[in-house]
Amino acid sequence: MGGWLTPDILPPEAWRAVALSLKVSLWAVLVSLPLGIFTAYALARWRFPGRGLVNGLVHLPLILPPVVTGYILLLSMGPQGPIGGPLARIGVVFAFHWSGAALAAGIMAFPLMVRAIRLSIEAVDPKLEQAAATLGAPRLWVFASVTLPMILPGVIAGAILAFAKAMGEFGATITFVSNIPGQTQTLPSAIYAFLQVPGGEGAAVSLVVISVAVAMGALLLSEGIGRRVARRVAGA
């Protein structure tokens, strides 16, 4: 019989959207994480010319309506854009490709990730880093062996926030890579589509439930990890 929550009323492309959203969000988070940590570190600890500009740029996707971010991406990273063009010639294609969706999601999620990590870095007592330096650890090692382990809770928090945001990202993604079932149709695009037509609510609700379940699972998991890590870092 099948109620509205059971998979049989969801067309197969809905399931493909779920799979794609997971893939896109995971890639978006994983690829942007190192850059996010680096950016957060630079903003937290270094004084350099253009620091304000970098900080502004990082926050931009938060401030702009997502559609605008999508347009900017389309203009710059599209096949004829100043960045997308050359990239396309060396075979790196974002347009209408899931990697473009990941790019859009990653950019939209970036400010959240950077903020969380940066706050953690600012909370690390520089005296511990100094202690590591006196023991002979070069700067990068100090980071890897002292700073990074101590900011892990923040890194995890940042990664979850980014993942959740990526799972929900819609405006920039659809504007940049549009909605091609199986390639760029993420969960939010599918939900949006269902909501546009009278009577589409049922399917939309099913997808919302799936999306919430996935993100909550990730959330709970990461909370668990985060707590364990925090306890480890606090040393208790």
Partner: protein, 234 residues
Amino acid sequence: EQARLTVFAAASMKNAMDEIAAGYEAETGNAVDVSLAGSSALARQIQQGARADIFISANTDWMDRLEAGGQIDGDSRVDLLGNAIVLVAASGAAPVEIAPGMDLAALLNGGRLAMALVDAVPAGIYGKAALQSLGEWDSVAPMVAQADNVRAALALVATGAAPMGIVYATDAVAEDDVHVIGTFPEDSHPPIIYPAARVAGSDNPLDAGFLAYLQGAAARAAFERQGFVVLAQE
């Protein structure tokens, strides 16, 4: 105190509605607030009791839905405007004849066809219907890139991300980077109709007057300037 009227209108009508609201205010002294959003959003808000006075939808489905639910006054409903869908391409492309056997897939030459969401957004629904009736849909479907609204589809063409797109005739009007290479025959898709009606919960005395104004000469001129076909007879 100035009398006010709230109109919920499909976002694609912004330019025309701005002009009409200004004209109406100049003529009657009454202010008009136009809330522009997707038809689905507006219809849902009316379902949930939004205090709108007039609703102009970009398609008939949502208006039918509201009428069935008693949220609009069926007697006041008029088919206000019509529109056409066109095939657009980057400037410089040759015109094509839109007819069965045109082999749109070959024309795309591996590129994407930009459309609005083909199952959700009116322009996409009409476009899909037209391609189906022309027998092109099955071959083209895998190449369709669907945007969340027509303007986004147009942008895909304007930026060169997609070589061609299907949009409303009204959208192609002012875009320099894009030009129309063909218009879909009227009979290839269900009629494109923008119905207008009075919201049932509205007790605004200006309702009837504004509905009439929408069908008047001033409004007609404004609509036509934006490329709409005015259906309503005065």
